[in-house]
């Protein structure tokens, strides 16, 4: 396979499949073409992984520059049209400003970008591509079944055609975004993801979904404008050769030039909007009205990662500057604020969205800390968070179709009714905070790296505690069943598409965590090796303590006469713990020798029906046992959201202030 062939698979194949599904609306063709595409993408990801070494692959397509520009203008024109049609003055203003900016850069400044490579593929792109191609493909398979159940109105085939057009198209665009190096190309792919997201959020065509799609368009346009501003500053000051991501990252100009620094800050703010950091989080929450595959693919595992991917990629450029500290504090604040808001929400998809925002905040904070350990933690978080969240969203989607609600309270007792989904969601949730799993390892690394910024420490400590609270609360609701409920209810059966996609992802999560040393050594460390010396050392063999990290350039590490690593993650020990956790109950628990006890209701239990649901209430009347979770609405309400947003906005203003001074 040559590079051109690879790009055909990565970029053109999704485009072709998308158009095919839009034009030919046959279920067989849809299923066939999407499954073939999924397999091809996964194969291409593996191929890419083996092909890209430590040196980046540089690909230039100057002939396509004009096409990209025209497409850019087309997208902006379309956004302006949407703004006019929906009477949204801000969207019109933002789109027109972007149009004017782009035209001015192209016609007024006439930058010479012929020397700028269009695409650069390095190890970091490979990690992102693996995430997008593999998880994206799995979600596509899941979507095949999900949309079957979702669209039951008139013209279902037509609507499905439209859905898969944008859905599959998005995959190709995302791949382009990952590889883009020319800032004009990056900007094009960036706007195209905004467009896809807009179309998919509005897919259900209800009032709510249309409004939320518009909100997403509006907030993401702010990010687009920030990018145009950044490109303008760069091109204006340094000429066309500066419109290159790799040049920006490696130039080291940030200490010398203020306009470069401001451009950098604008690019980072662009990343903030896409990553739905506070105060931009509302579009992501609103996006939860979209069908679940959209939430799983765009709004948790891939598209929002584009924002943090950009910030991460730029990290070497602002390393060591006050801007870096400001980004760290900002990310840390988002982590805390989003975790806090997740505690108060009872809508499962919104809780997941808040948790996504929080984790993206953690990644941003890692980029801001900007040490080797922190940046590696950020890459790890991108990978593992994508897997966990995709799994969780897909699980919640299935639950929603069966329960008919997204409310966590309505999921009570799901453990008995849908044991398979309980298992899936448990794996996903435990993946987020049970010791041996990848996210916790990344969080461990992130927290230990945060020691450089004492203020950040406080934010992360508070945020991570809240994380455990809302996950456990949710799991607790799902676990809560009556005695003997399992024997009384029929478990719901799962269609094959769900079993395949959810099973693959759940298994993948466990295997990835088991193979953490391989992931770290094979994917994560190489991806940042160009800029950062490897900080994490994976110990070889079956060692109980699999990871240690040390800032070996710091002589203080040697205390007395003993050499102690700065941190140590005992992966082996924790896995033994996990294994015993599964084995011991099985070995010691003999259900046939024990009795299933009733629940204690002060002795007032009544025998009515098969399940012990009732107790004798006032005047001996049968009253049903009903329980609910804690949501702290008294403390956490709209006022909290508002004040958190204000603080976040203030932080961002301060960040720009730091840069400008």
């Amino acid at each position: 396979m040559t590079w051109n062939q690879f790009l055909l698979v990565a970029l053109a194949l999704p485009l072709v499949v998308a158009l095919l599904n839009y034009l030919v609306r046959l279920p067989q063709i849809r299923k066939g073409s999407i499954i073939v595409m999924a397999l091809a993408l996964i194969a291409s990801a593996v191929w890419l992984h083996t092909r890209v070494g430590d040196n980046a692959v540089v690909l230039s397509f100057p002939w396509a520059d004009l096409t990209i520009l025209i497409l850019d203008l087309a997208i902006l024109a379309y956004i302006t049209y949407v703004g006019i049609e929906r009477r949204h003055p801000y969207i019109i203003a933002l789109a027109v400003l972007q149009l004017a900016g782009l035209l001015y850069i192209e016609l007024g400044l006439r930058p010479d970008v012929s020397e700028v490579p269009s695409l650069v593929i390095d190890r970091l792109s490979v990690v992102m591509y693996l995430v997008v191609a593999v998880i994206g493909s799995i979600i596509c398979v899941y979507a095949l079944q999900y949309m079957e159940e979702h669209d039951d109105r008139a013209h279902p085939e037509e609507r499905k055609g439209r859905f898969f057009l944008w859905f599959v198209l998005f995959l190709g665009i995302m791949n382009g975004l990952i590889f883009a190096n020319n800032l004009f190309w990056l900007y094009f792919f960036w706007e195209a993801t905004t467009l896809c997201s807009f179309q998919l959020i509005g897919h259900d065509d209800t009032r709510e979904s249309r409004d939320n799609a518009l909100l997403a368009l509006f907030l993401n346009s702010i990010g687009g404008l920030a990018m145009i501003a950044a490109i303008f500053l760069l091109v204006n000051t340094f000429g066309g050769a500066a419109a290159s991501l790799s040049a920006v990252v490696n130039s080291g100009l940030a200490v010398l030039s203020t306009s470069f620094l401001i451009a950098l800050a604008f690019l980072v703010i662009g990343g903030f909007t896409k990553a739905a950091q506070l105060p931009f989080q509302n579009w992501l929450l609103g996006a939860m009205v979209a069908p679940t595959p959209v939430s799983a693919l765009l709004h948790s595992s891939t598209m929002v990662k584009a924002g943090v991917y950009l910030i991460l990629r730029l990290a070497p450029a602002y390393s060591g500057l006050p801007l870096s500290t400001a980004i760290a504090i900002f990310g840390g604040f988002t982590f805390l604020a989003a975790s806090l808001l997740a505690v108060a929400d009872d809508n499962a998809k919104r809780v997941l969205a808040y948790s996504t925002v929080a984790n993206l905040g953690l990644i941003v904070a890692c980029c801001g800390i900007n040490t080797s350990l922190a940046v590696n933690a950020a890459v790890l978080l991108i990978v593992f968070h994508a897997v966990c969240k995709a799994l969780l969203f897909m699980g919640v989607g299935v639950i929603e179709h069966n329960v008919g609600s997204r409310n966590i309270e309505n999921m009570e007792g799901l453990a008995a009714r849908m044991p398979a989904m309980m298992l899936v969601v448990s794996i996903g949730v435990f993946g987020m905070f049970l010791p041996p799993f990848g996210v916790l390892f990344a969080k461990w690394a992130a927290m230990e790296a945060s020691i450089r910024e004492p203020l950040l420490v406080a934010l992360l400590v508070a945020g991570s505690t809240l994380t455990a609270l809302f996950w456990t609360k949710w799991l607790g609701r799902m676990l809560s069943t009556y005695p003997r409920e399992e024997e009384e209810v029929q478990p719901v059966s799962m269609p094959g598409y769900y079993v395949t996609s959810l099973g693959t992802l759940a298994l993948g999560l466990v295997l990835l965590s088991l193979g953490l040393p391989a992931v770290v050594n094979g994917l994560v460390l190489p991806s940042t090796m160009t800029w950062y010396p490897p900080a994490i050392q994976g110990m070889s063999g079956l060692n109980l303590a699999a990871f240690s990290w040390a800032n070996y350039y710091n002589p203080e590490i040697i205390l007395g006469n003993a050499v102690v690593p700065e941190g140590l993650f005992p992966l082996g020990l924790l896995f033994i713990g996990l294994l015993l956790m599964l084995v011991i109950p099985m070995a010691f628990f003999e259900p046939e020798k024990e009795r299933v006890g009733d629940i204690y209701l002060s002795g007032e239990n009544l025998d009515e029906g098969p399940l012990p649901l009732y107790f004798a209430g006032a005047m001996e009347s049968p009253s049903k046992v009903s329980l609910g979770g804690y949501y702290f609405r008294g403390v956490l309400n709209d006022r909290t959201v508002l004040s958190l947003n204000i603080v976040a906005a203030a932080l961002m203003v301060m960040m720009i202030g730091v840069v400008a001074s």
Partner: protein, 165 residues
């Protein structure tokens, strides 16, 4: 085996249920916890959940309403378990005998192992009954090891010989 017997005799966790007492017996039962009588020196502690309890202390008559509750609590306790009827009401319903709303003593609802008479019995008598009950716990556990047909009442029950007030 001996260790288990020792432990069972030394750690009777008691659950107190008031089936419809005049509170006289309840006050005396609670008095057992006070520093003067200190029932905890025998390992007995009052416990809130029937699932933890070894011993059910019943005070007062069993009536139509409390019968179901008493039965439910008794069922939720796990083996081995004993029931102690405290006071003449719980033993035979005393002066309320044959009253229209009273069913009788605790044994109308659950099998009683130890009876203490008195109206109310003194704390010493209650402590004596609890220790007697703890001894019965051991026996019951043995029975479970070698299951024999168990008679819940009659010769198997014991009466406290302590001074009744």
């Amino acid at each position: 085996m001996n260790l288990v017997h020792l432990a069972q005799a030394k750690s009777p966790w008691v659950l107190h249920y008031d089936a419809s007492s005049c509170n006289g017996c309840d006050i005396e039962t609670v008095a057992c916890l006070t520093p003067l009588y200190d029932i905890e020196r025998f390992g007995a502690v009052p416990i809130g959940s029937p699932k933890h309890a070894d011993m059910l202390l019943v005070t007062g008559n069993v009536n139509h309403k409390s019968k179901r509750v008493l039965r439910n609590i008794y069922d939720q306790m796990t083996e081995p378990k004993v029931v102690v009827a405290i006071g003449i009401c719980a033993t035979s319903s005393g002066v309320f005998h044959q009253s229209y709303n009273v069913l009788g003593g605790a044994d109308q609802a659950v099998p009683v192992d130890v009876y203490i008479s008195g109206c109310p019995p003194r704390p010493e008598a209650i402590i004596d009954a609890i220790i007697m009950g703890a001894e019965k716990l051991k026996k019951k556990w043995k029975e479970e090891e070698h299951p024999v047909k168990r008679s819940n009442q009659g010769s198997d029950t014991e009466r406290s010989t302590a001074d009744v007030g």
